[in-house]
């Protein structure tokens, strides 16, 4: 079995308090990375940091700020810069899901969804890229979605924001390659998290039935791929969108 060792690597994960973000934090902690965990709830972040420190003996800092707000991102990275001059991995995971048929979409839904899911990727990548250049390179991992690739009824806003994440990924991969910074996206399918628990039982079953592998994905399934992309095992991988969807058909 290949062991991934990220000792001396500094990793920032946004939206780290639950779901894919929390699972990614655990995976990177198990690999020995120093963690900077972002979310909006500082208590949850502190609690997770304490847990990871106890279980994996890694250094973990809570960095609460709203990734959809450019000023807060600036302040957040200034705080990160005080803690470390190095960054090797950024997992842009923070995201919201707010579905509606097109006739019922509100401007606030559009603004909030795009700000949290897509603008945040630009804001965080801007600062992260400069820190990574100081470290000689790095890996930016953007959590997109199968919906960003193929769309779905009632998800024009969510799908649009995740398609934006894919577009950002492809452009940044080209722009930052010369600086030895790899940029990839992970496109999860139907994953068992708080986000998908919002569905009705009927809708949930319908989604599960569309998965070729016959099971709903776990946050760890996605976190495993994030870990791969953050490690040297993917040293020649950039500009890719990797589906983690069990063969889901929408």
């Amino acid at each position: 079995m290949v062991e991934i060792n990220l000792t001396d690597k500094h990793v920032l994960i946004t939206g780290a308090t639950r779901g894919i973000g929390a699972a990614s934090a655990k995976r990177f902690a198990a690999a020995g990375a120093t963690l900077y965990l972002n979310g909006r709830d500082s208590n949850k972040l502190e609690a997770l940091c304490e847990q990871l420190n106890e279980e994996y003996k890694v250094t973990c800092h809570a960095l609460p700020f709203d990734v959809s707000n450019a000023d807060e991102v600036k302040q957040g990275f200034q705080q990160l810069f005080k803690l470390t001059k190095k960054l090797h991995v950024l997992v842009n995971n923070a995201g919201v899901l707010d579905d509606a048929l097109i006739g019922m979409v509100t401007p606030k839904q559009v603004e909030n969804t795009f700000a949290t899911n897509a603008h945040s990727v630009i804001y965080c990548s801007q600062y992260a890229a400069r820190l990574m250049q100081r470290s000689g390179g790095g890996s930016i991992i953007n959590i997109a979605s199968i919906i960003g690739r193929v769309g779905n009824v009632g998800q024009a806003v969510y799908g649009g924001s995740k398609a934006a994440v894919i577009g950002i990924t492809l452009s940044l991969a080209k722009e930052l390659a010369a600086a030895n910074i790899r940029v990839n996206a992970v496109a999860p399918g139907f994953i068992d998290t708080d986000m998908t628990k919002q569905l009705t039982e009927e809708k949930y079953q319908e989604r599960e039935d569309s998965i070729a592998m016959g099971r709903v994905g776990t946050a760890s399934d996605v976190a495993n791929v994030a870990l791969f992309l953050g490690s040297g095992l993917s040293s020649y991988v950039t500009g890719q969108v990797i589906g983690v969807d069990g063969g889901m058909l929408i």
Partner: protein, 78 residues
């Protein structure tokens, strides 16, 4: 001392002789100072002066003279 480091950063990042670096040198006024070189310059300035520049300041950094003015905001006296 700081200005010497600043000038050296410009020489290295833009790959131009030191004589080219004057207060009147502006972004995009020479082919060597394009957007790619600008980001290389930013990385070099952040590295040698141990600062993290605001995005607004990066965009405002339109000349060598302006760069000195901006760095003073970060307590770097050029």
């Amino acid at each position: 001392m700081a200005e010497k480091k600043l000038k050296q950063a410009f020489v290295k990042s833009l790959a131009v002789p030191a004589e080219v670096i004057t207060d009147s040198l502006e972004y995009n006024s020479i082919k060597e100072w394009d957007s790619t070189a600008h980001m290389i310059l930013i990385a070099e300035l952040e590295n040698i002066f141990e600062v993290m520049l605001d995005t607004d300041d990066i965009i405002d950094m339109s000349s060598y003279a302006k760069t000195k003015e901006i760095l003073r905001k970060y307590d770097i006296d050029c």
